[in-house]
Amino acid sequence: MTGAVPVTLRDLLTDPEGQKLLVVSRIPRTLAALLAGGALAVCGQIMQILARNRFVEPMTAGAGQSAALGILIAALLFPATAIWAKMGIAALTTLIGTAGLMLLIRPLPPTQPLLVPLVALVYGGVIGAFVTYFAYQGDMMQFIGTWLTGELSGVLQGRYELLWVAAISAGVTWFIADRITVLSLGEDAARGLGLNVGLVSAAGLGAISITTAMVVVTLGAIPFVGLVIPNIVARRMGDNLRRALPVAAFSGAALVLAGDILGRILRAPFEIPVATVVGLAGALVFLILLYSEPRHG
């Protein structure tokens, strides 16, 4: 385990400080990376089915920005409320933000697959602008920086546990994986099969919102995990979610952990935020995917 303070395996066995470092900081940090990465990849895959588009993911499509907006509102208007209430507000604004996007992209023609990510980017940008405006007014610019760029250096025992909520809410979607896959046929075909389209969409949106909000609140926004991983998984094994979701979860977890470790090694003892590392790697992979994807209906 790398970090600013070198800890060798022997220290772990002999030095109580080394053990403490492991339990309080290094293990939570590793778990946080795994949980966030897995949950974000699952969310991306579900969002792509709900939006019926390959090129959207929660963090860039307004969900991450809505979560930041929620925390900001909570911090500005209800500074005294409990942390759980603030989480609730963040989850709620994320839900509204994501549902808003879904309404916005509904009329877009499926034959123009690039319109959806464009609209989503603009939409995310607009919400992000609101976040900046309110933060500026409230003199909290530095505060929001921690949410808009995800990093793991602040993770300690007792300060990452909300990520378990994110992981559980992402994990629960596996139980409705078949239903969400049926939804990928389109609303008409899904209704024709007797699926409760409204309920399943709402459950999917709810899971995305809770997960995204928890990750943003705890670590900050980590982009591209929800975009790159689902695209690679879908290309290799298709979109049958019952099979694809576990693979996406493990790949996402591995990606974020690798990104975090790399960010700590490159400029040790300083750190590069995991969002920057993953974002850079993800953007490159995404460009490759875009250019190699054969255009088919």
């Binding site: 089915i49 390959r54 024709g192 099969l193 007797g194």
Partner: protein
């Protein structure tokens, strides 16, 4: 039987259907034809409860549209919608297996799997069952969607312009499969068709719609003639009878 009584429908301010009264008997193939904008697809999606029924009454067997649950109807009636654009990457077998969803709600049993394999075999899809939908031809893709509807194991099958984007070989083979399903399996098939000749060659009954009203109905031999083409489609074309079926000379 599908009973349609005094159905009106409007989308926004545009009134699409003006009081449709129609009985579609059980068994055989009924083709809905008519010029663009006549309301064929709208009528079909109302019967399949994909669009909300606002005025009038539709019953399928004993189920009343608007009152019965989506799931109950899904066991009696399958619909293949006009747009079969699927953004997800699915294998042919996975698509066909969705047809069993109304029966097992996500937990397929041995019987479901047997029916899926039977549908794949029936429609000649076994060799490509593990290919992704975007890796098969348009005809194979359309056959896979019909196989999914077949696996749904309903008495009624509704199809909205399934011949779109198919070449003549694909279109003929699909219509033959539907004919076989009507004759061998006793399915009731209602199909929206653009091409009168396909309707005339394969259907038992034709219902012609114009401007949201039923303009004519009967067997192909009864109603497909120059008068129908002139009055309903607004074109003067000759009709010749080949093998007992009228065909329009285009």
């Amino acid at each position: 039987m599908i009973r349609i009584r005094d159905v009106h429908h409007a989308i926004g301010k545009a009134r699409i259907l003006h009081g449709i009264d129609l009985d579609i008997p059980k068994g055989g193939i009924t083709a809905l034809i008519g010029p663009n904008g006549a309301g064929k697809s709208t009528l079909l999606s109302l019967v399949a409860r994909l669009a909300p029924l606002k005025q009038g009454e539709i019953t399928v067997e004993t189920l009343k549209i608007g009152a019965c649950s989506d799931r109950d109807l899904a066991k009696v009636l399958a619909i293949m919608a006009q747009s079969t654009h699927v953004s997800a990457r699915l294998r042919v077998r996975e698509l066909v297996s969705f047809g069993r969803y109304p029966w097992h709600q996500g937990r397929p049993g041995a019987q479901d799997r047997a029916l899926i394999e039977a549908a794949l075999e029936r429609f000649g899809l076994l060799p490509i069952a593990d290919r992704f939908l975007d890796e098969v031809s348009g005809g194979q893709r359309q056959r896979a969607f019909v196989a999914m509807a077949f696996a749904q194991d309903t008495d009624y099958l509704l199809l909205d312009e399934p011949l779109n984007n198919l070449d003549i070989a694909g279109a003929r083979s699909l219509m033959r499969l539907l004919r076989e399903m009507a004759d061998k399996d006793g399915k009731t098939i209602v199909i929206v068709l653009h091409d009168i000749n396909y309707a005339s060659a394969f259907a038992d009954r034709i219902v012609a719609l114009k401007d949201g009203r039923v303009a004519a109905q009967g067997t192909p031999a009864q109603i497909v003639d120059t008068a129908l083409l002139r009055d309903v489609f607004g074109t003067d074309a000759e009709v010749s009878v080949i093998g007992g079926r009228p065909q329009v000379l285009v």
